[in-house]
Symmetry: C2
């Protein structure tokens, strides 16, 4: 990491020395700016480290078969696994969790190493590393806390307009092999037309809405919401712009309420696709019409 005591300034900084000006004078800054001064950092030797990361708990788990989308396990499923370990260590359910995806993970054993960052009266912050064969495959940072069942103060949005779950049509997919394994675990029912991408008829808008439920009818808790946040087909498929593997770089889920029993009304959309990356935003609502989670991810655009 280089020698100690050097000043590092990354970005639009330059040195206020005349003879260096041609090289260092970048747009609008001919000397070190207030902001750059105020955010200067000086590296020193790691031996001086004042804290050691404390490992608080190690968990064994298994990435099960059948939670994949054509090989690698679903990203929401992996996040649920890590979040369950963290929630166990925190003795609290997840409130806001962010995962960075480091490598695809196939079924088989994993370890989850959990570190306590801070434990407060209401909130606990922890980080976790999911490990396969001594290699980190997922890194997670999260804050855990019980939900407060206060009244909704402001809700400037509505659930997606879906026909009731029981009357929601399930499209007939003739080629059974085309259904990702994950979808057999789930009983997702899409908004009419939103299945179009799977039949060569994308809607033209990067949005997919529908109901989420488990195929075995089990209830969806805060850990389950981690899966919901990444369980739908990428909305870019309905834009008609691209199909294929959409590797998640980062996924953040905010849990905003305990879901009421029953299926969840979900809508996912992408508004910004540029620089080889797409953003995907999700809103998840329960049958009582309350927002139970928001999600956002940054992912790589599928290769043509």
């Amino acid at each position: 990491m280089g020698s100690a005591d050097r000043i590092h300034l990354v970005g639009s900084t330059s040195i206020a020395l005349g003879y260096d000006r041609d090289i260092h004078a970048l747009a609008g800054a001919i000397q070190v700016s207030e902001f750059d001064q105020a955010t200067a950092v000086t590296e020193r030797t790691p031996a001086d480290a004042v804290i050691d990361a404390v490992i608080d708990a190690v968990f064994d788990a298994t990435v099960h078969e059948g939670w994949d989308i054509g090989g690698p396990a679903n990203g929401g499923y992996l996040l649920a696994l890590a979040t369950r370990a963290m929630a166990t260590a925190a003795h609290r359910p997840p409130l806001t969790v962010t995962a960075h995806y480091l490598a695809p993970v196939t079924p088989g054993p994993i370890e989850i190493v959990v570190r306590a960052v801070r434990s407060g009266r209401r909130m606990a912050t922890l980080s976790a590393t999911m490990i396969r064969d001594q290699t980190a495959v997922l890194e997670v940072l999260g804050t855990f806390a019980e939900q407060r069942d206060d009244a909704v103060v402001l809700c400037d949005a509505t659930p997606p307009d879906l026909v009731p779950y029981d009357r929601c049509e399930v499209p007939v997919i003739r080629d059974d092999a085309a259904i990702p394994a994950l979808q057999r675990r789930l009983a997702v029912r899409l908004r009419a037309g939103d299945e179009g991408f799977a039949f060569g008829r994308p809607t033209g808008r990067a949005e997919i809405a529908g109901w989420f439920a488990f195929a075995d009818g089990s209830a969806i808790d805060a850990i389950g919401l981690m899966l919901v946040a990444d369980a739908f087909a990428p909305p870019i498929f309905n834009s008609g712009l691209a199909m294929g593997w959409v590797p998640t770089v980062e996924l953040t889920v905010h849990v905003r309420a305990e879901p009421e029993p029953g299926p969840l009304a979900c809508v996912f959309g992408s508004r910004f696709i540029q620089g080889g990356l797409l953003e995907e935003d999700g809103e998840i609502w329960d049958t009582a019409g309350r927002l139970v989670a928001q999600s956002r991810q940054l992912a790589l655009i599928p290769r043509a």
Copy 2:
């Protein structure tokens, strides 16, 4: 953390034993569900830990005076400090960064301990802990990568409707002491009317838009975008619902392009205020009309 080899199932799980059913049968799940089985985790003793967190670099830095909003340093400023250390260690600018705020930070010395999680050809993932007096005050997880200057594939939004920066009116605030110190470092100019909250005339909508620039005219790079993401007054102020200190729990910033030189057009809004928490979404655009960053934070509602 309890003894080893126990199975932990957090959430809507229950035990498939008849005599336990009254206690354990929760909504829709009278036995352990497929999902709960597939996400089961087993704790073992920390001594079995297979990896140690590797500290890759330690940085000294100073939380400067004048970047605060009435005492504690601004959250975006703290994130910029941590991100500069991480970018230095990564030799790459930030792409997506998430911070969890653990404690308010006043001016003075800090340390930033950086750990490499994964270093790939294009992307590097790192975590960092900001430390004051041997206490963690900020925990950050980020992925760092150069921007790819590919064409915009999809942009389903427009920059906020602002009059050009030079013609944007600066509201006269008579009580100079009422201006947070941070705002003296900046040359923010709000959309007409959006300053209303400061004069007892909130717009009635939880949204604030305006131009961001540094008072010293310096350019805004990817590190600067971390500050921009938290430099405006909380949009909840314009809802008329609450004023006061809005402590950030978590802030995520996606950098989507290198900003063109010049001020940045920003819009921040809150759509979901419930359970004692608010979500705040930001979009940051450069003068070329390109989205350069998206932000989202989860924060505590100000106490009445």
